[in-house]
Protein backbone atom coordinates (compact mmCIF):
# COMPACT_ATOMS: atom_id res chain seq x y z
CA UNK A 1 0.00 0.00 0.00
CA UNK A 2 1.29 3.44 -0.90
CA UNK A 3 1.73 5.61 2.16
CA UNK A 4 0.28 9.14 1.81
CA UNK A 5 2.85 11.90 1.49
CA UNK A 6 2.34 15.43 2.77
CA UNK A 7 3.41 18.48 0.83
CA UNK A 8 5.15 21.35 2.58
CA UNK A 9 6.38 24.74 1.53
CA UNK A 10 7.96 25.46 4.89
CA UNK A 11 11.36 23.88 4.99
CA UNK A 12 13.75 21.12 4.12
CA UNK A 13 16.88 20.16 5.97
CA UNK A 14 19.94 19.93 3.79
CA UNK A 15 23.70 19.51 4.16
CA UNK A 16 25.54 22.78 4.71
CA UNK A 17 22.45 24.89 4.05
CA UNK A 18 18.71 24.49 4.47
CA UNK A 19 15.65 25.63 2.53
CA UNK A 20 13.02 27.85 4.15
CA UNK A 21 9.93 29.13 2.36
CA UNK A 22 11.65 29.07 -1.02
CA UNK A 23 15.04 30.38 0.04
CA UNK A 24 18.46 29.11 1.10
CA UNK A 25 18.78 30.04 4.76
CA UNK A 26 22.47 30.91 4.81
CA UNK A 27 23.15 31.78 1.18
CA UNK A 28 20.09 34.01 0.62
CA UNK A 29 18.44 35.04 3.88
CA UNK A 30 21.29 35.45 6.32
CA UNK A 31 22.54 39.04 6.35
CA UNK A 32 19.76 40.23 4.06
CA UNK A 33 16.65 39.65 6.15
CA UNK A 34 15.32 41.79 8.97
CA UNK A 35 13.31 40.28 11.79
CA UNK A 36 10.16 41.80 10.31
CA UNK A 37 10.91 40.28 6.91
CA UNK A 38 11.71 36.93 8.48
CA UNK A 39 8.45 36.85 10.42
CA UNK A 40 6.54 37.68 7.23
CA UNK A 41 8.43 34.99 5.36
CA UNK A 42 7.48 32.58 8.13
CA UNK A 43 3.94 33.02 6.88
CA UNK A 44 5.00 32.75 3.25
CA UNK A 45 5.03 36.47 2.44
CA UNK A 46 8.15 38.07 0.96
CA UNK A 47 8.43 41.74 1.90
CA UNK A 48 10.68 44.59 0.79
CA UNK A 49 12.89 46.20 3.44
CA UNK A 50 10.42 49.10 3.76
CA UNK A 51 7.52 46.73 4.19
CA UNK A 52 9.53 44.69 6.68
CA UNK A 53 10.15 47.85 8.65
CA UNK A 54 6.39 48.43 8.77
CA UNK A 55 5.99 44.93 10.23
CA UNK A 56 8.49 45.96 12.92
CA UNK A 57 6.35 49.01 13.65
CA UNK A 58 3.12 46.99 13.62
CA UNK A 59 4.64 44.73 16.25
CA UNK A 60 5.90 47.57 18.43
CA UNK A 61 2.56 49.39 18.09
CA UNK A 62 0.80 46.27 19.36
CA UNK A 63 2.71 46.16 22.63
CA UNK A 64 0.41 46.29 25.63
CA UNK A 65 1.85 43.89 28.17
CA UNK A 66 0.39 44.97 31.51
CA UNK A 67 0.20 41.78 33.61
CA UNK A 68 -3.27 42.73 34.86
CA UNK A 69 -4.71 41.97 31.41
CA UNK A 70 -6.49 38.62 31.68
CA UNK A 71 -4.65 36.53 29.06
CA UNK A 72 -1.32 37.95 30.26
CA UNK A 73 -2.22 37.34 33.89
CA UNK A 74 -2.92 33.77 32.80
CA UNK A 75 0.72 33.34 31.77
CA UNK A 76 1.65 34.35 35.31
CA UNK A 77 -0.78 32.02 37.04
CA UNK A 78 -0.13 29.04 34.76
CA UNK A 79 3.61 29.54 35.12
CA UNK A 80 3.57 30.23 38.84
CA UNK A 81 5.31 27.00 39.78
CA UNK A 82 8.30 28.00 37.70
CA UNK A 83 10.58 25.51 36.05
CA UNK A 84 9.51 26.48 32.57
CA UNK A 85 8.58 29.54 30.59
CA UNK A 86 6.63 27.40 28.17
CA UNK A 87 3.77 26.48 30.50
CA UNK A 88 2.72 30.07 31.00
CA UNK A 89 3.43 31.03 27.42
CA UNK A 90 1.39 28.16 26.00
CA UNK A 91 -1.51 28.77 28.36
CA UNK A 92 -1.56 32.44 27.48
CA UNK A 93 -1.42 31.85 23.75
CA UNK A 94 -4.23 29.29 23.93
CA UNK A 95 -6.42 31.88 25.57
CA UNK A 96 -5.73 34.31 22.73
CA UNK A 97 -8.09 32.36 20.49
CA UNK A 98 -11.25 33.79 22.00
CA UNK A 99 -13.75 35.58 19.78
CA UNK A 100 -13.31 38.97 21.45
CA UNK A 101 -9.86 39.16 22.99
CA UNK A 102 -6.49 38.34 21.52
CA UNK A 103 -6.32 37.23 17.91
CA UNK A 104 -9.86 35.89 17.66
CA UNK A 105 -11.36 38.90 15.84
CA UNK A 106 -8.62 38.98 13.21
CA UNK A 107 -9.77 36.26 10.82
CA UNK A 108 -13.42 37.41 10.64
CA UNK A 109 -12.23 41.00 10.15
CA UNK A 110 -9.76 39.89 7.47
CA UNK A 111 -12.47 37.99 5.64
CA UNK A 112 -14.84 40.94 5.88
CA UNK A 113 -12.28 43.47 4.65
CA UNK A 114 -11.09 41.14 1.90
CA UNK A 115 -14.64 40.78 0.62
CA UNK A 116 -15.71 44.41 1.00
CA UNK A 117 -12.58 45.78 -0.65
CA UNK A 118 -13.67 44.19 -3.89
CA UNK A 119 -16.92 46.16 -3.87
CA UNK A 120 -17.58 49.71 -4.89
CA UNK A 121 -16.62 51.85 -1.84
CA UNK A 122 -20.15 53.18 -1.40
CA UNK A 123 -21.58 49.67 -1.64
CA UNK A 124 -19.06 48.46 0.92
CA UNK A 125 -20.03 51.23 3.31
CA UNK A 126 -23.73 50.51 2.80
CA UNK A 127 -23.09 46.90 3.80
CA UNK A 128 -21.19 48.01 6.89
CA UNK A 129 -24.01 50.35 7.85
CA UNK A 130 -26.52 47.56 7.37
CA UNK A 131 -24.47 45.31 9.64
CA UNK A 132 -24.25 47.98 12.30
CA UNK A 133 -27.94 48.88 11.96
CA UNK A 134 -28.74 45.21 12.55
CA UNK A 135 -26.82 45.37 15.82
CA UNK A 136 -23.76 43.46 14.67
CA UNK A 137 -20.53 44.01 16.49
CA UNK A 138 -17.73 44.27 13.97
CA UNK A 139 -14.69 42.16 14.89
CA UNK A 140 -11.78 44.33 15.97
CA UNK A 141 -13.99 47.22 16.98
CA UNK A 142 -14.73 48.29 20.53
CA UNK A 143 -12.32 49.59 23.14
CA UNK A 144 -13.00 48.74 26.78
CA UNK A 145 -11.92 50.90 29.68
CA UNK A 146 -10.47 53.71 27.60
CA UNK A 147 -11.59 56.29 25.03
CA UNK A 148 -9.36 55.10 22.21
CA UNK A 149 -6.93 52.27 21.63
CA UNK A 150 -3.55 53.97 21.75
CA UNK A 151 -2.13 51.11 19.70
CA UNK A 152 -4.33 52.15 16.80
CA UNK A 153 -3.17 55.74 17.09
CA UNK A 154 0.47 54.64 17.07
CA UNK A 155 0.04 52.24 14.17
CA UNK A 156 -1.86 54.82 12.15
CA UNK A 157 1.05 57.23 12.49
CA UNK A 158 3.44 54.56 11.21
CA UNK A 159 1.23 53.57 8.29
CA UNK A 160 0.95 57.21 7.25
CA UNK A 161 4.68 57.85 7.68
CA UNK A 162 5.47 54.93 5.38
CA UNK A 163 2.98 56.05 2.77
CA UNK A 164 0.81 52.97 3.22
CA UNK A 165 -2.35 54.85 4.18
CA UNK A 166 -3.71 55.04 0.63
CA UNK A 167 -3.67 51.27 0.21
CA UNK A 168 -7.13 49.75 -0.33
CA UNK A 169 -7.66 47.79 2.88
CA UNK A 170 -6.43 50.63 5.07
CA UNK A 171 -8.65 53.12 3.26
CA UNK A 172 -11.65 50.84 3.67
CA UNK A 173 -10.85 50.21 7.33
CA UNK A 174 -10.63 53.99 7.85
CA UNK A 175 -14.06 54.50 6.30
CA UNK A 176 -15.51 51.78 8.51
CA UNK A 177 -13.87 53.37 11.56
CA UNK A 178 -15.34 56.75 10.63
CA UNK A 179 -18.76 55.11 10.51
CA UNK A 180 -18.43 53.24 13.82
CA UNK A 181 -17.15 56.38 15.53
CA UNK A 182 -20.42 58.12 14.70
CA UNK A 183 -22.00 55.34 16.78
CA UNK A 184 -19.55 55.71 19.64
CA UNK A 185 -17.42 52.65 18.79
CA UNK A 186 -13.68 53.00 18.34
CA UNK A 187 -11.55 50.52 16.39
CA UNK A 188 -9.06 48.44 18.30
CA UNK A 189 -5.68 47.14 17.26
CA UNK A 190 -7.02 43.86 15.85
CA UNK A 191 -8.87 45.52 12.98
CA UNK A 192 -6.21 48.15 12.25
CA UNK A 193 -3.46 45.52 12.27
CA UNK A 194 -5.55 43.34 9.97
CA UNK A 195 -6.02 46.12 7.42
CA UNK A 196 -2.31 46.92 7.37
CA UNK A 197 -1.37 43.25 7.03
CA UNK A 198 -3.77 42.66 4.16
CA UNK A 199 -2.25 45.59 2.30
CA UNK A 200 1.17 43.98 2.75
CA UNK A 201 -0.08 40.90 0.92
CA UNK A 202 -0.83 38.54 3.77
CA UNK A 203 -3.62 36.11 2.88
CA UNK A 204 -6.70 36.73 5.05
CA UNK A 205 -6.42 33.31 6.67
CA UNK A 206 -2.84 33.98 7.78
CA UNK A 207 -3.23 37.44 9.32
CA UNK A 208 -4.30 35.90 12.63
CA UNK A 209 -1.00 34.04 12.91
CA UNK A 210 0.86 37.28 12.22
CA UNK A 211 -1.12 39.03 14.93
CA UNK A 212 -0.30 36.26 17.39
CA UNK A 213 3.36 36.82 16.56
CA UNK A 214 2.88 40.51 17.25
CA UNK A 215 1.33 39.70 20.63
CA UNK A 216 4.07 37.23 21.46
CA UNK A 217 6.31 39.80 23.20
CA UNK A 218 3.41 40.63 25.54
CA UNK A 219 2.96 36.97 26.47
CA UNK A 220 6.63 36.05 26.53
CA UNK A 221 7.69 38.92 28.76
CA UNK A 222 5.08 37.96 31.33
CA UNK A 223 5.77 34.24 31.01
CA UNK A 224 9.50 34.76 31.61
CA UNK A 225 9.10 37.06 34.58
CA UNK A 226 6.25 34.97 36.00
CA UNK A 227 8.26 31.74 35.85
CA UNK A 228 11.19 33.51 37.49
CA UNK A 229 9.07 34.98 40.27
CA UNK A 230 7.19 31.76 41.17
CA UNK A 231 4.83 34.01 43.08
CA UNK A 232 3.22 32.18 45.98
CA UNK A 233 0.09 34.34 45.75
CA UNK A 234 -0.43 33.03 42.23
CA UNK A 235 0.30 29.43 43.23
CA UNK A 236 -2.43 29.78 45.81
CA UNK A 237 -4.49 32.88 46.39
CA UNK A 238 -4.91 33.34 50.18
CA UNK A 239 -8.26 32.36 51.61
CA UNK A 240 -9.06 35.91 52.69
CA UNK A 241 -9.06 36.90 49.03
CA UNK A 242 -11.40 34.09 48.01
CA UNK A 243 -15.17 33.97 48.15
CA UNK A 244 -17.30 30.84 47.86
CA UNK A 245 -20.64 31.39 46.14
CA UNK A 246 -21.65 27.78 45.49
CA UNK A 247 -24.20 25.48 47.13
CA UNK A 248 -24.19 25.10 50.89
CA UNK A 249 -22.95 21.85 52.41
CA UNK A 250 -25.32 18.96 51.87
CA UNK A 251 -25.33 15.20 52.20
CA UNK A 252 -25.68 12.86 49.26
CA UNK A 253 -28.44 10.25 49.24
CA UNK A 254 -25.79 7.53 49.15
CA UNK A 255 -24.21 8.92 52.29
CA UNK A 256 -27.57 9.20 54.04
CA UNK A 257 -28.49 5.61 53.26
CA UNK A 258 -25.30 4.21 54.75
Amino acid sequence: MTRPRLRTRVAKTGWGDHRFQGHAVYAELLGHTSTGQLLALTLGVKLTPNEGALIDEMFVSSLLADPHIWPLKLTRVAGAYGGSTMTGLTAGLLSAEGPITGAGPVTPMAELLDRLVQLDPDAALREVRALLDAGSRLPGFGVPARKVDERVVALSRCVIARGQHQRPHWLLWGRIADETRTRGVEPNIASAFTAAALDLGFPPERVEALFVLALLPCFLANAVEGAEQRAEILQEVPGVDLEYRGPARRESSRCRSC
Binding site: R7, R9, E243, Y244, R254
Partner: protein, 229 residues
Protein backbone atom coordinates in the same frame (compact mmCIF):
# COMPACT_ATOMS: atom_id res chain seq x y z
CA UNK B 1 23.74 60.86 49.48
CA UNK B 2 20.01 60.27 49.14
CA UNK B 3 18.88 57.88 46.46
CA UNK B 4 17.04 59.54 43.61
CA UNK B 5 13.29 58.93 43.61
CA UNK B 6 12.12 56.12 41.37
CA UNK B 7 10.21 57.43 38.40
CA UNK B 8 6.46 57.39 38.90
CA UNK B 9 4.17 56.30 36.12
CA UNK B 10 0.61 57.44 35.87
CA UNK B 11 -2.06 54.89 36.70
CA UNK B 12 -3.90 53.50 33.70
CA UNK B 13 -7.07 51.44 33.23
CA UNK B 14 -5.53 48.39 34.92
CA UNK B 15 -5.27 50.37 38.14
CA UNK B 16 -8.45 52.43 37.77
CA UNK B 17 -11.01 50.12 36.14
CA UNK B 18 -13.63 48.98 38.70
CA UNK B 19 -13.02 45.35 39.64
CA UNK B 20 -14.00 42.95 42.46
CA UNK B 21 -11.64 42.57 45.39
CA UNK B 22 -12.02 38.81 45.73
CA UNK B 23 -11.76 35.74 43.50
CA UNK B 24 -15.06 33.84 43.47
CA UNK B 25 -15.53 30.08 43.32
CA UNK B 26 -18.91 28.61 42.45
CA UNK B 27 -18.38 24.84 42.60
CA UNK B 28 -15.42 23.85 44.72
CA UNK B 29 -15.52 24.82 48.39
CA UNK B 30 -12.07 24.87 49.99
CA UNK B 31 -13.26 25.11 53.55
CA UNK B 32 -13.67 22.25 56.04
CA UNK B 33 -11.92 19.59 54.01
CA UNK B 34 -13.27 20.63 50.66
CA UNK B 35 -16.53 19.99 48.83
CA UNK B 36 -17.83 19.86 45.28
CA UNK B 37 -21.27 21.35 44.69
CA UNK B 38 -21.74 21.14 48.45
CA UNK B 39 -20.87 17.44 48.86
CA UNK B 40 -17.97 16.89 51.22
CA UNK B 41 -14.99 15.35 49.51
CA UNK B 42 -13.56 13.28 52.36
CA UNK B 43 -16.63 11.98 54.15
CA UNK B 44 -19.25 11.83 51.41
CA UNK B 45 -17.83 11.65 47.89
CA UNK B 46 -14.71 9.60 48.56
CA UNK B 47 -16.42 6.69 50.34
CA UNK B 48 -19.56 6.56 48.19
CA UNK B 49 -18.65 7.65 44.67
CA UNK B 50 -16.14 6.46 42.08
CA UNK B 51 -13.95 9.19 40.57
CA UNK B 52 -15.84 9.19 37.28
CA UNK B 53 -19.08 9.66 39.23
CA UNK B 54 -17.58 12.62 41.04
CA UNK B 55 -16.59 13.98 37.63
CA UNK B 56 -20.15 13.60 36.32
CA UNK B 57 -21.50 15.18 39.50
CA UNK B 58 -19.09 18.04 38.99
CA UNK B 59 -20.27 18.61 35.43
CA UNK B 60 -23.97 18.30 36.24
CA UNK B 61 -24.06 20.13 39.56
CA UNK B 62 -25.87 17.43 41.49
CA UNK B 63 -25.37 13.84 42.59
CA UNK B 64 -25.98 11.07 40.10
CA UNK B 65 -27.69 7.71 40.57
CA UNK B 66 -25.54 4.61 40.79
CA UNK B 67 -26.99 3.40 37.49
CA UNK B 68 -26.13 6.65 35.75
CA UNK B 69 -22.71 6.60 37.37
CA UNK B 70 -22.06 3.12 36.02
CA UNK B 71 -23.34 4.12 32.58
CA UNK B 72 -21.02 7.11 32.52
CA UNK B 73 -18.08 4.90 33.40
CA UNK B 74 -19.01 2.50 30.63
CA UNK B 75 -19.25 5.27 28.02
CA UNK B 76 -15.97 6.84 29.14
CA UNK B 77 -14.27 3.48 28.87
CA UNK B 78 -15.67 2.87 25.38
CA UNK B 79 -13.66 5.82 24.10
CA UNK B 80 -10.65 5.45 26.38
CA UNK B 81 -8.56 3.39 23.95
CA UNK B 82 -6.95 6.43 22.36
CA UNK B 83 -4.14 4.61 20.60
CA UNK B 84 -0.77 5.80 19.40
CA UNK B 85 -2.01 6.51 15.90
CA UNK B 86 -4.56 9.06 17.11
CA UNK B 87 -3.50 12.69 17.46
CA UNK B 88 -3.94 13.08 21.25
CA UNK B 89 -1.71 10.11 21.99
CA UNK B 90 0.60 10.59 19.01
CA UNK B 91 1.19 14.19 20.10
CA UNK B 92 1.92 13.14 23.68
CA UNK B 93 4.31 10.44 22.46
CA UNK B 94 6.10 13.03 20.31
CA UNK B 95 6.35 15.33 23.32
CA UNK B 96 7.90 12.44 25.23
CA UNK B 97 10.24 11.51 22.38
CA UNK B 98 11.23 15.18 22.08
CA UNK B 99 12.32 15.14 25.71
CA UNK B 100 9.51 17.21 27.17
CA UNK B 101 8.89 17.03 30.92
CA UNK B 102 5.92 15.07 32.22
CA UNK B 103 3.92 18.26 32.68
CA UNK B 104 4.36 19.05 28.97
CA UNK B 105 3.38 15.54 27.91
CA UNK B 106 0.26 15.59 30.04
CA UNK B 107 -0.59 19.12 28.93
CA UNK B 108 -0.20 18.22 25.28
CA UNK B 109 -2.41 15.15 25.67
CA UNK B 110 -5.13 17.17 27.38
CA UNK B 111 -5.02 19.99 24.87
CA UNK B 112 -5.18 17.76 21.81
CA UNK B 113 -7.81 15.50 23.34
CA UNK B 114 -9.99 18.57 23.90
CA UNK B 115 -9.41 19.68 20.32
CA UNK B 116 -10.31 16.21 19.16
CA UNK B 117 -13.50 16.46 21.18
CA UNK B 118 -14.47 19.70 19.47
CA UNK B 119 -13.78 18.06 16.11
CA UNK B 120 -15.88 15.02 17.03
CA UNK B 121 -18.75 17.18 18.22
CA UNK B 122 -18.71 19.13 14.98
CA UNK B 123 -18.70 15.90 12.99
CA UNK B 124 -21.69 14.70 15.00
CA UNK B 125 -23.61 17.97 14.93
CA UNK B 126 -26.57 16.35 13.14
CA UNK B 127 -26.78 13.72 15.88
CA UNK B 128 -26.57 16.33 18.63
CA UNK B 129 -29.21 18.48 16.96
CA UNK B 130 -31.46 15.46 16.72
CA UNK B 131 -30.87 14.51 20.35
CA UNK B 132 -31.73 18.06 21.44
CA UNK B 133 -34.77 18.24 19.17
CA UNK B 134 -38.36 18.01 20.32
CA UNK B 135 -40.45 16.30 19.10
CA UNK B 136 -38.09 13.85 17.42
CA UNK B 137 -38.55 11.73 14.37
CA UNK B 138 -36.34 8.80 13.45
CA UNK B 139 -32.68 9.84 13.23
CA UNK B 140 -31.71 10.05 9.55
CA UNK B 141 -28.05 10.99 9.88
CA UNK B 142 -26.76 7.56 8.93
CA UNK B 143 -28.11 4.17 8.09
CA UNK B 144 -25.42 1.89 9.52
CA UNK B 145 -26.55 1.26 13.08
CA UNK B 146 -25.12 -1.21 15.52
CA UNK B 147 -27.61 -2.45 18.14
CA UNK B 148 -24.82 -3.95 20.20
CA UNK B 149 -24.06 -0.55 21.80
CA UNK B 150 -27.49 -0.47 23.44
CA UNK B 151 -27.03 -4.01 24.66
CA UNK B 152 -23.55 -3.32 25.96
CA UNK B 153 -24.71 -0.38 28.06
CA UNK B 154 -27.70 -2.26 29.39
CA UNK B 155 -25.61 -5.32 30.26
CA UNK B 156 -22.88 -3.30 31.97
CA UNK B 157 -24.92 -0.68 33.79
CA UNK B 158 -28.55 -1.72 33.74
CA UNK B 159 -29.50 1.46 31.88
CA UNK B 160 -31.51 0.87 28.74
CA UNK B 161 -31.17 3.96 26.58
CA UNK B 162 -33.51 4.00 23.56
CA UNK B 163 -31.43 6.50 21.63
CA UNK B 164 -28.51 4.09 21.56
CA UNK B 165 -30.27 2.15 18.81
CA UNK B 166 -28.95 4.86 16.48
CA UNK B 167 -25.30 4.47 17.49
CA UNK B 168 -22.96 3.17 14.86
CA UNK B 169 -19.60 3.22 16.66
CA UNK B 170 -18.06 4.01 20.03
CA UNK B 171 -17.94 7.76 19.36
CA UNK B 172 -21.61 8.14 18.53
CA UNK B 173 -22.52 5.72 21.32
CA UNK B 174 -20.55 7.69 23.91
CA UNK B 175 -22.09 10.99 22.82
CA UNK B 176 -25.59 9.50 23.03
CA UNK B 177 -24.89 8.24 26.56
CA UNK B 178 -23.39 11.59 27.61
CA UNK B 179 -26.52 13.32 26.34
CA UNK B 180 -28.77 10.77 28.02
CA UNK B 181 -27.06 11.40 31.33
CA UNK B 182 -27.67 15.13 31.09
CA UNK B 183 -24.48 16.44 29.50
CA UNK B 184 -26.06 18.71 26.92
CA UNK B 185 -23.63 21.56 26.28
CA UNK B 186 -20.56 21.34 24.06
CA UNK B 187 -18.20 22.29 26.93
CA UNK B 188 -19.66 19.50 29.08
CA UNK B 189 -19.28 16.95 26.30
CA UNK B 190 -15.79 18.21 25.44
CA UNK B 191 -14.75 17.78 29.06
CA UNK B 192 -16.10 14.23 29.25
CA UNK B 193 -14.53 13.23 25.95
CA UNK B 194 -11.12 14.70 26.78
CA UNK B 195 -11.12 13.11 30.24
CA UNK B 196 -11.74 9.67 28.75
CA UNK B 197 -9.16 10.07 26.01
CA UNK B 198 -6.51 11.03 28.53
CA UNK B 199 -6.66 7.49 29.88
CA UNK B 200 -5.18 5.93 26.75
CA UNK B 201 -3.09 8.94 25.78
CA UNK B 202 -1.26 9.13 29.11
CA UNK B 203 -0.84 5.39 29.53
CA UNK B 204 0.72 5.11 26.09
CA UNK B 205 2.88 8.22 26.09
CA UNK B 206 4.27 7.79 29.59
CA UNK B 207 5.24 4.22 28.73
CA UNK B 208 7.47 5.59 25.95
CA UNK B 209 11.12 5.47 26.90
CA UNK B 210 11.77 9.16 26.26
CA UNK B 211 14.28 11.07 24.18
CA UNK B 212 15.46 8.63 21.53
CA UNK B 213 16.05 9.61 17.91
CA UNK B 214 16.04 5.98 16.81
CA UNK B 215 12.72 4.93 18.31
CA UNK B 216 10.35 7.17 16.38
CA UNK B 217 9.39 6.66 12.70
CA UNK B 218 10.75 9.90 11.27
CA UNK B 219 9.05 9.54 7.88
CA UNK B 220 5.56 8.48 8.93
CA UNK B 221 4.36 10.19 6.83
CA UNK B 222 7.06 11.72 4.64
CA UNK B 223 6.92 15.45 3.82
CA UNK B 224 7.74 16.54 0.27
CA UNK B 225 9.19 20.04 0.18
CA UNK B 226 8.00 22.25 -2.70
CA UNK B 227 8.87 25.73 -3.90
CA UNK B 228 7.26 28.07 -6.38
CA UNK B 229 3.62 28.79 -7.02
Amino acid sequence: MAKPDKPRFEDGPAQLFPAPETLAGHVVDWRDGGAIHGYGVADDLAPHFAPHEVFLLGLLGDEVSQQHGRAFGVALTWISACHVGLAPTHSAVLARVSGGPSSAIIGVAAMVAAREAEHILTKHQALLDWLNGSPRSDFAGWADRDPRWRHRLRDASGLDLDDLQFARDESSAALIVFHGLGLRSRPQMTAAWAWARMIGALAESLAESGLDIHSYPLRLPPFDYEEGS
